[in-house]
Symmetry: C2
Subunit: 325 residues, 2 copies
């Protein structure tokens, strides 16, 4: 195995977030499940946006957030994901590139606008997401850069890609290319609804292709069919090399073979949890590629998550190397 | 005079802000004057954006901010300004409309993209602005809605409009229509560079057409040619019905005929001063249209400015009626 050019290559949806603060009644009126992500079409996007109060626009996308935060923490990061050559595409490209991430995926044909996610932030800081995938759904395996995949120590995928057949296929191809090059494959399960709706594909993916698994409690329960956290954790412990299980304010549990590490959450003011899991993964993998002990990996993850939670939007601005500590 | 349908009609540039936090060296390298606003062309916009770190996009525009914050404080507000039928135009329209502002200006032909302002926020919280006017420069008098002007108690203009001949002409036409309907004309001088570069036009405007003047210290000095604040204040006291002079952390001085009121600034953490003056004007005029004493108008202005300064971006989100106190 050659030495890696990149520590982490993220492959995921390329999205600009539109964030607005609303009351809980809004979720009920709109029939949304708090804390989840659902896909919406162009017409629903326009209607929902019109109902939202004034908003803030920032770059998003789960794995894209992880790649950006990791780069801001000093990790050599790359990203593959598709935008159009439009304003939102320019914003996405500018932000991830200026974060220090290697991002050269060519734009999709202009038939589809770049993806956007309408994010409802409730007073408890929870975020509920409604994503119009647009151009991001064009992530066919042709967009995969085999050289970059082979040159990345960890190839990190997002479960959200499983909603679109082309993107799901890209996950399988990327995992195969990574393993052929002797690299490791990581995945975030992304969302419990997403896992429930694509259950067999997720089970096969985790069992057959994943080395490092990131999941929160509800995603873990959906994957295993077990509501008991400890029982579910035992199932995935046997399936992957490393399982990183986040539990919100209760911190995280990290399992590697017979090893088990528990890490507390970093106390912080809760403004907006958008991107908290993405930032945790960034901090965790920043530790992993630095060969830090699992407890340190978990602490960096918790610190990165806390930094994200105490502000609106998924990506803290500026140099984040101070989170390595 | 009929009773007014709107308390405040703002006429100004319709802009989306792109805000990024940078060090002071960046300003020096780019030859920018801290705290000022300069106009840039499309090519310079692309170059400067490429040099900026990851950013946040929010609706802006000086008078547009005032109209939005005033509406959020419960004032009946309207706005006239031009965007294109593009993504940034949609963001601008969505945010000002959902703030509760009456905004029906039709979009400009798509030849020009909607305006954007690249805002550099330094660690001291100062903002330095670089504006690509694009479609906003299309604000020809044909866009003025004479009925709305005649139905608004205060018609509020921004000095930035004086950079573009068509927009400057719109200021004069709007002032004439307002006065013919027995309404009052207010203006913010916007920026000392803008005043210096269009000095005679500003002097004629203030002397001949303005009832209510908003200016900060550097704008007042540029207008009057007097560095001494008290001497400059005496000059404008004689020219306008009401002069509202802001002095940053030293608060504001309000002059109406023989009356003089001094209002302290509201203490706050300084994150980003973008929109502080706009919010002050919103709070002040919210008091004015409620027939509050000048000291109360000033306090509402100071409270609205403080609420803006302690966060990134020009417009605080949500209901701001609590600022009336």
């Amino acid at each position: 195995m050659n030495s890696a050019r990149f520590d982490i290559l993220g492959i995921g949806n390329a999205i600009v977030d539109i964030l607005a603060e609303v009351d809980d009644e809004f979720l009920a009126e709109q029939g949304m499940i708090k804390g989840s992500m659902d896909l919406i079409d162009a017409e629903r996007t326009d209607k929902l946006y019109a109902l939202m109060p004034p908003a803030v626009q920032t770059s998003g996308g789960s794995v894209a957030n992880t790649a950006a935060v990791a780069a801001q923490m000093g990790v050599r990061s790359a990203f593959i994901g598709v935008v159009s050559d439009d304003e939102f595409g320019h914003i996405f490209r500018h932000d991830i590139t200026s974060s220090g991430v290697h991002y050269v995926t060519p734009p999709a044909p202009p038939a589809l606008p770049s993806a956007r996610c309408l994010i409802i932030v409730t007073p408890d800081g929870q975020r509920t997401m409604n994503t119009f995938l647009g151009a991001s759904s064009s992530l066919h395996p042709d967009y995969l850069d085999a050289e970059v995949i082979a040159a990345s120590a960890i190839v990190y995928l997002e479960g959200f890609l499983f909603y679109v057949p082309d993107s799901r296929e890209s996950c399988l191809v990327a995992a195969r290319l990574a393993h052929e090059a002797g690299r490791r494959v990581a995945i975030s399960l992304s969302d419990f609804l997403c896992v429930e709706r694509n259950l067999e594909a997720f089970r096969a993916m985790v069992r057959d292709h994943v080395d490092i698994l990131f999941a929160n409690e509800s995603e873990l329960a959906a994957l295993t069919g077990l509501d008991d956290f400890e029982a579910a954790a035992e199932v995935v412990r046997d399936q992957v090399e490393l399982a990183v299980l986040t539990r919100g304010a209760r911190g995280s549990v990290i399992l590697r073979g017979g090893e088990r590490v528990e890490v507390p959450a970093e106390p912080t003011e809760v403004v907006d949890t958008t991107g908290a899991g993405d930032a945790y993964a960034a901090g965790f993998m920043a530790g992993l590629v630095a060969d830090a002990p699992l407890a340190v990996c978990g602490r960096w993850g918790s610190r990165a998550a806390a930094e994200t939670i105490r502000r609106l939007g998924a990506r803290p601005l500026g140099d984040l190397s101070y989170l390595r500590g």
